[in-house]
Symmetry: C2
Subunit: 134 residues, 2 copies
DNA sequence: ATCATTGCAAACACTTTGCATACGC
DNA sequence: GCGTATGCAAAGTGTTTGCAATGAT
């Protein structure tokens, strides 16, 4: 995905394509590792030498608001960001820390082992409105 | 559940029944609201006037290690603790902040509304070992 | 010239750590 | 008396906020 296509994509999401935003989008698009703000910052600061973490946070909030990314929050871990906004599950390896996308079709939550992923715990979090508040 | 029964329960889990631990267990047992460390502290400090948050954290770590509680980590929220360690889902109301237990049988993740719970987002987190690390 | 974006520094919330004191057997 | 539990204060981590500087049109 080249710069002008990213520019166009951001505009479709109603986001003004500044340099930081383009570079961050580019990084997310080409590195499907569900990076944290820190990982994004470290990956880009050599190229964008004035980049600050504040800008990364600002940008990720904006991207999340506009639906460009979804946020992933494993317990007691930094927030990570996923440019794949289609529905899927996440698997985090307790050993290497990598986060993987797991398609719905690949997993039956009742079972513990699928395709070499040794699932020790499953946490299902639903967010919405409870009967009292609807 | 009276003090001597709690004492006995803690011992079965290989935890020495100190006063703080008994009171914290008692609180968790009788208040199924998935409290945070802060909530536990505030609820007990009037009675246990020397209680510190450190002790709450120490105790919750110990309880989690021994399998007395499970921890619940919604994205960007404080850790909450659940004395119900049998498998179930969690639903957090975005309006009132309450966390509810949802039995497996009550929910079909593909649907969005069940028994008055208006589910806006579902996050499924699996933790374990990935194929590279097994 | 105006308005949005950026980025530093400080504040913040939650949690952990170091260490000295107190408690229980 | 010895080993564990407790609790204060400080440090640590990830994130947010206030505000001034910069950049784009």
């Amino acid at each position: 995905m080249n710069a002008s296509l990213i520019r166009q994509t951001l505009q479709e999401y109603d986001v003004k394509p500044s340099l930081s935003r383009i570079k961050i989008y580019d990084y997310l698009y080409n590195n499907r590792i569900h990076p944290s703000a820190e990982m994004i910052y470290k990956a880009l600061v050599d190229e964008l030498i004035t980049l600050s973490k504040t800008t990364v946070y600002n940008t990720m909030h904006l991207f999340a608001d506009k639906g460009i990314v979804r946020t992933i929050g494993f317990p007691n871990e930094e927030t990570r960001f996923d440019i794949n906004v289609t529905p899927h599950y996440h698997f985090k390896c307790r050993n290497c820390g990598n986060v993987y996308d797991i398609p719905y079709s690949k997993v039956d939550i009742e079972s513990s082992v699928r395709d070499g992923f040794d699932i020790e715990t499953v946490e299902v979090h639903m967010i919405g409105r409870c009967p009292k508040c609807s």
